[in-house]
């Protein structure tokens, strides 16, 4: 609910105005000063964060410049750092996760707003919401001991058998791999995409559906021709919001992706992401250059997620103005 002024507040504006600074008591001034301090601390904190990451990454930025994002060699001993495999892995795992999660979460959101019996809607949404509450490290634990053995025994061999001629499904089957990490990521971002797109769909005016149904459309046709097109922008926002989550997700990915600084064509091969590299190497980094390179990675990740989230927010806001859609998930 970023739209600020609701009707009662606007009506009461004169009340606030009556307290000009001259008339404000000492208590009022102290109170306002304290609140201002609290509110100001948030932008100050962000400024400080950007400053610290910028300064912290200076060494790596000056040494490697743009080659940091175009080269693949990552050798802490020789102080040579190229983050291309990290960037590639982050983008690929997030993309694959969305590929799985988007149809699934849109299906759930549409079912819950258009088809499900009324009494089931909120309970199902709550249950799926619980998925968002599970800590990332628990997903990682489950992924290592349950998901990977399962995938390795059934799904991966089947994929290899059916599509083994494609470079994507070539080579030996490792447990920890790009595909395993993407699947766990998909499970993790699904509740976010689901809940935001559900809110967006709920914000579609009822007249939109009724018009389609009145013209003789079946319920599915009403959804496809009237509801979804109306909510399209907001759904895009929900997806991009999920992308933001996937890009920055750390623990579960670190535990499942295999952590290898390499760009492999096969999805069965281990990979690496930006967040996972920071998580794995930061505490053990020994040289200032290694720290600086990892801070540079963190800075890049920060900038990317801010841009992605700002885009998502803008799209959601354009559709569901004032309905508060997305505010809970952001």
């Amino acid at each position: 609910m970023t739209t600020a002024v609701s009707a009662p507040r606007a009506a009461a504006a004169p009340t606030g105005g009556a307290y000009s600074l001259e008339h404000a008591s000492r208590g009022d001034r102290v109170f306002k000063a304290l609140l201002t301090l609290a509110a100001a601390s948030i932008p100050v904190l962000l400024g400080f964060l950007v400053y610290e990451l910028w300064i912290g990454s200076a060494l790596a930025r000056q040494t490697f410049g743009l080659t940091f994002v175009t080269t693949s060699e990552w050798d802490p001993v020789a102080d040579k750092f190229g983050a291309l495999p990290l960037i590639f892995g982050t983008l690929l795992s997030s993309f694959l996760a969305l590929l799985i999660a988007v149809p699934l979460s849109l299906g759930v959101a549409i079912y819950l707003t258009e088809f499900a019996p009324r009494s089931l809607r909120q309970p199902i949404a709550n249950i799926i919401g619980l998925l968002a509450a599970i800590p990332s490290v628990v997903y990682g634990l489950w992924g290592i001991f349950v998901l990977i053995p399962f995938l390795r025994a059934t799904v991966f061999p089947a994929l290899k058998g059916a599509f083994g001629f494609l470079p994507l499904f070539e080579g030996p089957i490792y447990g920890p791999s790009m595909l395993s990490a993407s699947i766990i990521l998909a499970i993790m971002v699904m509740p976010y995409i689901m809940s935001v797109s559900r809110e967006v769909l709920l914000a579609v005016p009822g007249s939109q559906r009724e018009a389609a149904l009145a013209l003789g459309a079946t319920r599915w046709e009403a959804v496809v021709t009237a509801v979804v097109p109306y909510a399209r922008t907001g759904i895009m926002g929900a997806i991009i919001l999920g992308l933001g989550r996937a890009l920055g997700e750390t623990m579960a990915v670190t535990m499942l992706i295999g952590n290898r600084h390499e760009i492999a064509a096969s999805l069965f091969a281990p990979g690496y992401t930006m967040a996972a590299a920071i998580a794995n190497e930061f505490a053990e980094a020994a040289t200032p250059m290694h720290f600086s390179a990892l801070t540079y990675v963190a800075f890049t990740l920060f900038v990317v997620t801010v841009l992605v989230n700002a885009g998502a927010r803008l799209l959601i806001w354009r559709v569901a103005r004032g309905s508060g859609a997305g505010s809970s998930a952001l």
Partner: protein, 281 residues
Amino acid sequence: MNRRLFRRFKSNVMTGVLMACVLAAVLPLLFILGTLLLKGAGSLSLDFFTKMPAPAGENGGGVAHAIVGTLLMVGTACLIGIPIGIGAGVFASEYPGNRLAILSRFVADVLNGTPSIVIGVFAWTWIVARQKHFSGFAGSVALAILMVPMVMRTTEEIIKLVPHSLREAALALGYQRWRTTLQIVLLTALPGILTGALLAVARIAGETAPLLFTALGSQYMGTNLNQPMAALPLTVYTYATGPYEEWHRYAWAAALVLILMVFILNMGARFATRRMARLGG
């Protein structure tokens, strides 16, 4: 006629497909909770909460140090994060059009979308690098930074629900503005604000990434926030990625405790929200 039947048929098939989506979405949750109970519940005993880990190869033992560490760090994070978050939220709702309010609202949303690992790096450069040692306090600060924007945004939303007539009545009776805000508005909104705080606690209690290189984790019982400190999520991570069967058992049990904690906080918050929603009408 045939065409109409086909369209009806298609609609029904698609409904079935959508239901399958719901099933596919709920299944992982059931699987995860199921395995947690199956593998974790057996190791839960009084010892698990009160004892230190037994040496590898021995039975029994617990993760008391991690539970104490989590409670201490989350508690400290609350002490830092909740007052700032509530203060900023009250500011944003009291002066909605104010430039600072708009700015901090926007920045809070930016921070909310920032990966927690980045916050961890920030806490490292800010505190650990300057002090030259890992500490539970640095972990608490990282967690507090994650809390502030969440608490701020919920506080603001909840205060908007307080009927305006209440505020006007207090002002008409000659209350000063700060007393009106504190004693009337905040008190009315308190259950909702606590809900927001609880939800924030539930989220940071399970955070691992920002603690990896701030609190670092520890093998020993410690209550000194100036020292490296253990935490439940860190324990799950270390034990899950370790080589020993015995460690994996700890990891499952610790994960079960963690998830019970998070779910109880969540349920409590939801219950309180429902009461608040009724209040705000």
